[in-house]
């Protein structure tokens, strides 16, 4: 299937500074592509270029295979719709706001009402139709902004951090509702966000953008499980990154020297090679006391001492000194049950399939 939208050799420079450089990126019909990256990575610029709101300095954007530019882009722009971080509603009723894009396309006023009403209902805001937009809460306003975009039945939906300004419960509810709607309607979507949780919740594929460059574009699970570089690994939540040598092989297992002990990893590597081991904190479990006392099927059991406990929402981040610093994510209950505190001896356990190896030099 041909792509809905493609970037080919796109570059954007603001003055002398190159803020975006995308050799190629294609969005397939029906997929949700989530572009993640830190603030200032060029995510919004990328979205403006795709949405024909900013002309790239070089390269081209193709919509359904045809090159387009902002200058001649009105017809193509009307086949897309965008939602930004701020709802940017007009000072009018909710109903008029949702009808706005249809009016720009001079849609007949007659058929407009039912379409608007249908989309208000889908976002659960049918009761607000007559309300003045200025009187809405942040979450309600963003629902109106989404309904205003989706009522246009866009071939491509562009979302620029639409949940960033919302409080946690509002945001989770909206992400869930939006995800269900996008999948039910099969709407091709590009979502940019700095929040990896949103990528996990909504993305079919994830593109990691840093300093204006795409570092990895892959299926969502793959990006989180097997990040392509140390930078990507850190951004997608890998906390333990260890530079260490491979000291042996045992069938499919590679044996790594890590501090005073060894780690077995179910990924091939050549003995003598130096690799970077990436380990997500949620893949590590803790047991009290030394390794002998622990009962576990995990291949790797590393003795260590708790260095720090950092509360992190519903979890606690535990930093352990195993000869190298290792991070584990456990529940508050585990902290109580294991009597975790600074200086306490624990055993960190994880499966051989949990770590991911970054191989700098191919042997």
């Amino acid at each position: 299937m041909s792509a809905v939208v493609e970037c080919a050799r796109v570059a954007v420079a603001h003055g002398a500074r190159t803020v975006l450089e995308v050799p190629s990126l294609a969005v397939a019909p029906g997929e949700i592509l989530v572009v993640i990256g830190p603030n200032g990575a060029g995510k919004s610029t990328l979205l403006r270029v795709i949405g024909l709101l900013e002309a790239p300095t070089a390269g081209e954007v193709r919509f359904r295979g045809e090159p387009v530019t902002p200058r001649h882009g009105l017809a193509v722009r009307r086949r897309m719709a965008s939602v930004f971080q701020e709802p940017l509603l007009i000072d009018a009723s909710v109903r008029d706001n949702v009808a706005l894009g249809l009016r720009f396309r001079s849609a007949e006023a007659a058929g407009l009402g039912p379409r608007v009403a249908r989309w208000l209902d889908r976002f659960g805001i049918g009761a607000l139709a007559a309300r003045r937009a200025r009187t809405l809460s942040g979450g309600e306003a963003q629902r109106v902004a989404l309904a205003r975009a989706l009522v246009l039945e866009p071939e491509l939906l562009l979302l620029d951090e639409p949940f960033a300004a919302l409080d946690q419960p509002t945001r989770e509810g909206l992400i869930e509702d939006l995800g269900a709607i996008l999948r039910a309607e099969g709407i091709t979507t590009v979502l940019v966000t700095h929040d990896r949780g949103e990528a996990l919740a909504l993305g079919d594929r994830v593109a990691v953008l840093m300093n204006g460059r795409l570092l990895q574009v892959d299926e969502t699970a793959q990006v989180f499980r097997a990040p392509a570089s140390e930078e990507v690994a850190r951004f997608v939540g890998v906390e333990t990154i260890l530079h260490c040598p491979v000291i042996g092989r045992d069938g499919a297992l590679s044996l790594l020297e890590a501090g005073p002990g060894t780690i077995e990893v179910a990924q091939p590597a050549e003995p003598g090679e130096w690799v970077r081991l990436c380990l997500r904190p949620e893949d590590v479990t803790l047991a009290a006391g030394g390794p002998a006392a622990a009962h576990s099927s995990a291949r790797n059991r590393l003795p260590g001492r708790v260095v720090r406990l950092i509360p992190s929402g519903p979890h606690v981040r535990v930093i352990i000194d195993c000869g190298f610093p290792l991070a584990a994510l456990v529940t508050h209950r585990s902290v109580e049950e294991l009597h975790l505190a600074e200086g306490v001896s624990v055993t960190a356990q994880f499966k051989a399939t949990a770590p991911h190896l970054l191989r700098s030099r191919k042997a």
């Binding site: 709101l53 009105l74 722009r77 719709a81 930004f84 007009i90 000072d91 894009g101």
Partner: protein, 231 residues
Amino acid sequence: MSLFFQGVIEALRLLLTGDPEVWRITLLSLEISGSATALSLLIGIPLGTVLALARFPGRALAVSLVNTGMGLPPVVVGLFVTILLWRNGALGFLEMLYTPLAMVLAQMVIAAPIVTGLTLAAVQQIPAAFRLQMLALGASRAQMVGALLREARLPMLAAVMAGFGGVISEVGASLMVGGNIKGSTRVLTTATVLETSKGNFDIAIALSVILLLLTFLVNWALTWIQQRPRG
């Protein structure tokens, strides 16, 4: 103080008895300043919008000129319009000097920068992201500007009020290009100056009270539109 109350009583008498001269002067003031304001809106709204949205070399200078123009001294405007309309001036062939039309022209020159400057400010206070959002929803350039002006409609009413307030109360230019001719170009402000200089304080006060009342009514109406509860 008694002089002032006498004036107020005289004003009420003149208004209530429907003194034809006073009514003529009042209506002419409204007519001239209303037309001048309307014309200044025709010039100032597009100009202010362009200055707010367009990026071109010399824009900063243009904005400074507009802002300076907002405080243009009416006598200076009066002088230049007089020269322009003088018998052997550039527009002398129109024979417009000392007609109500000349006063409309002069007042328009005074009001246009005020309307332009306030429109500029009203449009600029809407975030740039709003413009992008309108375009992203499929607005053409013209539709985007339309949506923008609609969004700025309340602060722009301030432009109307300030423009009208500026010219209805102006005396220098009206006196110079109109000539304060009884029955033709005499308006509230010029009549007040004349009556004061003749020592007819009661009539002068009466005219002033009418002027204040008029300004108040127009602004009250516009404020009502601006501030009425919505939602």
